[in-house]
């Protein structure tokens, strides 16, 4: 999952980057509203965390610009302005969730998880479930045929992305775009390696290879 964090307070951004990285998200960080307006619309993010008091351009305007240009990426507003009038304004501008500062890191994680699930039509599950697999996002492990299978960070990222897009054909470059932030090297061979690891742990049939097209997640069909 690739996230965009727009936050101008550097210490908070540092904290969030560390925290969200640990959660297995690839994150790009921007501090200026104008940069965010451009990059949010051009890069394929899965979710955007947006502060409202930004230099360059106010967060609400950035959000309105995205929405009027047809960007449908879920946006979570993270702000110190917590009055109900401001929350309503945020929602009207097109936000999908609203979290006020100060917040607990766990609260933010839960909101991100549920927002991602909601965005992929998997509303209201306490855990990510798809095709017979249950992913425990806090412990980064997966429940498979009644067994708890531990995953490495890279495997966890990949499986989570597959589970949010079950049955879809995903090319290697698409996966690379959504699993790594804008600054890391994108080597599609690495993805191949991780897919093989997942197959070894969860069974060959779980991920299907379409030659020349990419991968398809079928899950553990009983």
């Amino acid at each position: 999952m690739r996230l965009l964090l727009v936050e101008d307070h550097v210490p908070l951004a540092d904290e969030l980057l560390v925290d969200l990285n640990r959660q297995g998200y690839a994150i790009d960080w921007l501090a200026d509203g104008r940069d965010a307006a451009y990059q949010g619309a051009t890069e394929p993010y899965d979710l955007i965390i947006l502060d409202l008091g930004l230099p360059g351009k106010p967060g609400l305007e950035v959000l309105q610009e995205w929405r009027s240009n047809g960007l449908s990426t879920p946006v979570l507003i993270l702000t110190a302005r917590g009055s109900w009038a401001e929350r309503i304004e945020g929602l009207k501008a097109g936000a999908d969730d609203y979290l006020t500062k100060p917040f607990h890191p766990e609260e933010l994680q839960l909101r991100i998880q549920s927002l991602l699930r909601r965005a992929h039509g998997l509303a209201n599950q306490p855990q990510l479930e798809a095709a017979g697999l249950q992913l425990d996002e806090s412990r980064q492990s997966v429940q498979h045929k009644g067994e708890n299978v531990q995953l490495t960070a890279a495997e966890f990222r990949l499986l989570r992305y597959f589970m949010l897009h079950p049955g879809q054909l995903l090319s290697k470059s698409h996966l690379a775009e959504h699993l790594y932030d804008g600054e890391s090297e994108r080597d599609s061979n690495v993805i191949e390696v991780h897919v093989n690891h997942l197959r070894r742990k969860l069974g060959r049939e779980i991920i299907e290879t379409r030659r020349g097209q990419g991968y398809r997640f079928n899950g553990a069909i009983p």
């Binding site: 307070h9 210490p11 908070l12 904290e15 969030l16 925290d19 008091g53 702000t79 110190a80 302005r81 917590g82 009055s83 109900w84 009038a85 929350r87 309503i88 929602l91 009207k92 999908d96 969730d97 609203y98 006020t100 500062k101 100060p102 917040f103 607990h104 890191p105 766990e106 609260e107 509303a123 209201n124």
Partner: protein, 439 residues
């Protein structure tokens, strides 16, 4: 304060009465004077004619009866004379048994002399020298018909004057009420302002009212601007405090600190206190309260947005409804009302199993807001305790809402009351009664 209409009427009546009386009386007096002046010349002519009727007869000087006016011969005809020689006096026959007293001085006499049959005589004395003798001629004429017609004129004039006064007063009432109509319009607008139906006065008023209206509008703008500025400043302050606080909260939940539970707990507790304190005080400082007379909350406009936000926050498993009479406007600041409803509803959503319902109604003496949920509710004996503490109702549900604290602050500012009762939905009903604002 008496009304302007009354003051104007009273002033007008007294001015008109005084002016009318003075005018009528002085014109009568002037008319009387000029009439007497005219009569003086006719009386003088009469005296001349009498003198011309003198002739020297066999028995000395006598009057030629044929040249005398007939009016001198008919008794009490209204025309009289008396001619005094040094040794004798002639009187006209018309005097009959009456005597015309000798006048003191020459010319027209100032005083009228009483005559018979209620007559009042105007008397003229003229002295001549004829036939070697001193002749004193007095001519008198009855003045009563003229006095009578004066009285008539006075009566008619009084009647006309009174009628004119009534007419003028009526007209004045109409004119004044017309002229004061802009005042009435402004008064109505001020009332609407108080009831939150408008937020500015109409600028299109007569010159005299313009400074007042402009000043009121300026004050309204100024108050609104000040409120906006201070809210903005508070928002900035909140931002400046809460963002570092968010960093601290994040730092406090690091793994390294979790290994020292005492320190971790203590840090978290203190941070929570700071957070609550900041939120509560900033929330209280942001309240507009009663400063903006034009402020209002349009239920049909604002509630859908609020409910959409609540649905977004609490997920779609809750059924949220609101009922409010169409066009209902609550006469308080929009942000304050949103803050009040948002917090109470947020609380209700946290506790509810499946339904939350808001109903707003207006009565003769104020407004009632009822927030119902179908959650577990609160036992009656604990309700008072919960209210008096102003404590958080949401302690057991994760979240950062301030519960009833800010709600109580808002209700207190509006001098309303907060009650907890059983809900028809099975859970708790938070009932807020708000008094109508004085118009």
């Amino acid at each position: 304060m008496r009304s302007i209409q009354q003051r104007l009427s009273l002033g007008l009546i007294s001015v008109l009465l005084i002016a009318g009386l003075v005018l009528a009386q002085s014109s009568l007096w002037l008319f009387d004077r000029s009439l007497r002046g005219y009569l003086q010349t006719t009386l003088q002519d009469e005296a001349q004619a009498l003198l011309g009727a003198f002739e020297r007869g066999p028995a000395g000087v006598q009057l030629d009866e044929r040249r005398l006016s007939a009016a001198y011969k008919r008794p009490y005809s209204g025309l009289y004379f008396r001619i005094d020689f040094a040794d004798q006096t002639w009187r006209s026959r018309s005097l009959w048994d009456r005597d015309l007293p000798r006048a003191q001085h020459l010319g027209l006499q100032r005083e009228l002399v009483d005559g018979p049959q209620g007559q009042s005589w105007l008397v003229l004395r003229a002295d001549y020298q004829r036939f070697g003798q001193q002749i004193e001629i007095q001519v008198a004429r009855d003045y009563t018909p003229i006095l009578n017609s004066f009285r008539q004129v006075q009566k008619v004039g009084l009647g006309l004057g009174l009628a004119a006064l009534v007419l003028i007063l009526l007209l004045q009432r109409v004119i004044v009420s017309r002229a004061l109509r802009p005042l009435e319009v402004t008064r109505q607008q001020l009332k609407q302002l108080q009831q939150g139906q408008r937020n500015q006065l109409d600028q299109n008023v007569p010159l005299e009212l313009e400074p007042l209206v402009a000043q009121i509008n300026h004050l309204l703008n100024h108050t609104e601007e000040t409120l906006k500025r201070s809210r903005n400043a508070l928002g900035n302050l909140g931002h400046a405090l809460k963002t570092p606080l968010a960093v601290l909260v994040s730092l406090a939940s690091r793994e390294e600190l979790k290994r020292i539970p005492d320190l971790h707990d203590s840090l978290n507790q203190q941070l929570k206190q700071i957070e609550q304190r900041i939120a509560r005080e900033l929330g209280r400082a942001k309240l507009a309260g009663e400063v903006l007379p034009g402020a209002h909350f349009d239920c049909a406009n604002e509630l859908p947005g609020l409910f959409a936000t609540l649905t977004m926050i609490h997920g779609r498993h809750l059924q949220l409804d609101w009922h409010a009479p169409g066009q209902l406007r609550l006469p308080w600041d929009r942000e304050d009302v949103l803050e009040l409803l948002g917090n109470v509803l947020d609380n209700a959503c946290k506790w509810a199993d499946s339904r939350v319902q808001l109903s707003v109604s207006s009565g003769a003496d104020g407004y009632t807001l009822c927030i119902d949920d179908d959650g577990p509710g609160i036992e009656p004996e604990r309700r008072q305790e919960v209210l008096s503490r102003g404590s958080r109702l949401d302690e057991q549900v994760a979240g950062h809402g301030l519960g009833l604290g800010i709600v109580r602050d808002i209700v207190d500012v509006w001098s309303g009351t907060l009650q907890l009762t059983d809900s028809v939905l099975g859970g708790l009903c938070v009932q807020i009664n708000l008094p109508a604002k004085r118009a």
